[in-house]
């Protein structure tokens, strides 16, 4: 057996002796005999670490990774960005990786201060005063935002634009079964923006949810959305692509009450979709209903500045069945990683990065236009939707063979392809992609 636990046979014997026992099995005397297994688990035997690493290398070799095997134009919440070496290095320090939730702040200032800095960055990005220390992913953040709106308004009526990520909407429906949400989906118009009605009716509501930009890439009119939501006493919940905020105005500045999003773009690897980073920020008035952990500033006995998790009375371990969120373990490590990566990019770099994403996507759109694949709107940031003359699934399949992940196919729309571009895509890659696509469609 590989040596995971340190105990030598002799020590086990001695420890058992101290407990007046003869065998390890005796430790389980309180388990009814009928429940104690006599057979070993039906699992393979142990292996050395090197064999496991090699085995997982083979698992990996049976996937097509971006860059190694595929040039990616897929987005939908997670994007193939260039990652900074500094963030990778700093985020993988064992003091961050192998710590628990900072329950003893005297020996957890590293994690706590990093989270405080993360909260500040998210708040500034979103244009709102308070942000939490992360949730599981963009979908979870949306669910928590709606729960918070429900908790605040004590109403269950929720309007969701069909432009919100379909998986997020599905998660909302899944969890909404527990919280008795009454979800109404608002359809999109031809330009893929939400077809906002003149009014959301006479009944008061809990929330209106729109994307900014939305799943199909279109930039929604948040000012109008805010007015509509306000008219029925509902909170405006905005699901953002955080990178877009380097170029576009903050949703907070446009009236959003709660802003959520997927933070993978902020320095987290694709990771086959997880671990990701749920971002969450809100107006001050919702502070005491915020889900997740909050880190605050304080002083120690000697007057030195220090950080601590605060407003803990909101949390499940204290509020128990009255808590509006059950989150405990979150995505702290990803939050720290994002704080580091955002610091590496910095004020100027983040703006420049956003612009590069914009330029890349619009350049691709212009080239695809030449093939007759015209984006549904010109008002997009770094992701856009085109109609495909053949099955989009089939097209993606064919492009795979050429080493391209052509984009994502929205569930239920096999004639559409959503393409995303990041700063990692060069002109040469885009030109070759368009050229190859043209040949496949000819």
């Amino acid at each position: 057996m590989p040596s995971f636990a340190p105990h030598t046979d002799e020590e086990i014997r001695q420890m058992l002796g101290d407990l007046h026992m003869e065998s390890l099995e005796e430790l389980y005397a309180t388990i009814p005999v009928a429940l104690r297994r006599t057979e070993p688990l039906d699992l393979p035997r142990d292996r050395s670490e090197i064999e496991i690493v090699e085995e997982f290398g083979r698992f990996g070799a049976a996937n097509s990774a971006v860059r190694t095997s595929l040039v990616s134009f897929a987005g939908g919440g997670v994007y193939d960005h260039d990652l900074s070496a500094a963030a990778r290095h700093l985020g993988s320090q064992s003091a961050f990786v192998t710590a628990y939730t900072p329950y003893q702040p005297e020996v957890a200032q590293g994690v706590l201060q990093a989270l405080f800095e993360f909260q500040t960055m998210v708040a500034r990005l979103f244009g709102l005063p308070v942000a939490n220390a992360s949730l599981y992913d963009g979908a979870a953040s949306l669910v928590e935002a709606v729960n918070m709106a429900v908790g605040f308004t004590k109403r269950h009526r929720v309007f969701v634009s069909a432009g919100v990520h379909p998986s997020y909407r599905e998660a909302l429906a899944t969890f909404g079964a527990g919280t008795s949400l009454d979800i109404e989906v608002l359809p999109l118009q031809g330009d893929d923006t939400c077809d906002l009605p003149d009014s959301l009716g006479d009944t008061q509501g809990a929330a209106l949810v729109v994307g900014y930009p939305n799943y199909f890439g279109a930039i929604e009119d948040l000012r109008r959305a805010k007015a509509l939501a306000a008219a029925i006493g509902a909170l405006l919940v905005v699901v953002v692509d955080p990178i877009a905020l380097g170029l576009l105005q903050s949703p907070g500045a446009l009236g959003a009450d709660i802003v959520v999003g997927e933070g993978q773009s902020l320095g987290i690897p694709l990771s086959f979709g997880g671990p990701l980073l749920g971002l969450f920020a809100a107006k001050q008035e919702y502070l005491r209903l915020m889900p997740g952990r909050l880190v605050g500033e304080t002083r120690d006995l000697e007057g030195r500045r220090a950080f601590v998790t605060t407003l803990r009375t909101r949390e499940q371990d204290i509020r128990r069945e009255k808590a509006t969120s059950n989150v405990c373990t979150n995505q702290t490590l990803m939050a720290i990683q994002a704080a580091i990566h955002l610091s590496w990019l910095g004020k100027a770099g983040f703006a420049q990065l956003a612009r590069r994403n914009y330029d890349g996507a619009h350049y691709l759109a212009a080239q695809l236009g030449e093939l007759g694949l015209v984006p549904s709107t010109k008002r997009f940031f770094r992701e856009f939707t085109v109609r495909t003359p053949i099955s989009a699934t089939e097209l993606v399949h064919r492009m795979l063979a050429h080493g391209f992940l052509a984009g994502i196919v929205p569930p239920g729309f096999d004639d559409r392809l959503i393409c995303a571009v990041t700063e990692a895509r060069t002109k040469a890659e885009i030109d070759l992609f368009v050229d190859t696509l043209g040949k496949e469609l000819r």
Partner: protein
Amino acid sequence: MNFLSHSAAGGRASSSPLVGDAPEPTIFELSVADRRAYSLRETEIPPMALDGIEEWLRTDPIDLPEVSERDLVAHFTRLASRNYSVDLGAYPLGSCTMKYNPKFADQIAAIDGLVNVHPATPPEAIQGWLRLLHELEGYVCEITGMAQATLQPPAGASGELTGLLIMRAYHASKGRKPSKVVIPDSAHGTNPASVSLAGFQAVTVPSGPNGLVDLEKLKALVDQDTAGIMLTNPNTLGLFEQEIQEILAVIHAVGGLAYYDGANLNAIVGVARPGDMGFDIVHSNLHKTFATPHGGGGPGAGPVAVVEHLAEFLPGPLPRPVDAGNTYTWMTPQRSIGRVHAFFGNAVVLARALAFMRYLGRDGLTTMSQLAVLNANWLKHRIETTFEVAYDQPCMHEFVVSAERLKEETGVRALDVAKALLDAGFHAPTIYFPLVVHEALMIEPTETESPQTLEALAQALEQIVATAKDDSAAVLDMPQNTPVRRLDEAGAARNPVLTEDGRH
């Protein structure tokens, strides 16, 4: 020119506990206008017109930090040096299973073909991932005694809610809508919270004097309106619910389902299985039992496994073999409750956990649990004259002692003992949980700590108690040797400063 306009400079390690004792400035305080760390690749893409979005354009760039890479690295290196971690020393935090995480798993988590895969990649190009996840599902089911599992829930609490929504869907499929879920008073806070979020009402069953569910009281609580029960076993007191079969029979008798909170699975892998006990739905905290690192608070992974007849409700998609097992694809069960994660859960965490299971193998996994239980019992035995053991019975992987007597005698509380342990070079145990024990210290040594470490921990506890009796003020004044000393936590909550801009 005096360049030191702010509290401290980047190139000085004064904030590190290695040298000096000043606090570390925030990254914003280290910022200087126009300083930068980034470099972006040359793409040769021309600037494109900003037509049609003029009205949405930001006028000022976001006020992110402006630091050199050198200061960035120094800052976060110093922050890391101000943080305790398993890699530094023992972390006997009850209920959290802070075991050592073997380093080869970091290599697994860095494999290009695993970590750099987009989740929207078509199944034909992710056969490795599908096989890996399906294999992990098999391990989870074999260990818990279940039939099928979803790997989507990214943490234990998410698994709980997923499981409870399955419970809900099951009842609905039978045309029923029971409203209550029973939980014991010793339950972790996530349990009642999840029960509420799943639309049920949490009904608390008290523990008996032996720390176990009081079967008679349970019977009195349960009726046709009972959707099910939610239990950890061993429970949060570290005790095995000996009447578990009887308890679950009570629930099943009214058509309810039994949910197993796997946070304490580390006690019994290979020894007993929730499925054999009669549980219908089981989540496992892979970040606890299967040694994926906790990351300062996450990410985790909380797969939910179910008995066969509940499999149709599992969230989709699930990785499933086709073509006689030669190929894998995604399939969503007919009556799925729907997704609970944007993609497939914390995939890289899942890979780490499978790697750990493969490493230890059949026998190693069982030994792991046995030694976790041995360590807990030995340490309990070792300190039973120092602190009152809450329940004087053989424990599983953790146990609870009370500092109540000490508090009465000396004024030194569980909190103070915890702080004093920091000075002794250990992380503190969990305190004030479970709620049923006053001045609780919940100690979970885990199997990765050696008997020498347990002895040192016991001696440190003895020393603290001796000091408390001798000079309680000295203990109340601890910790002294940590990067900061006790904090004004009340002040932090009274006047919350949650961002750099939130100071008043």
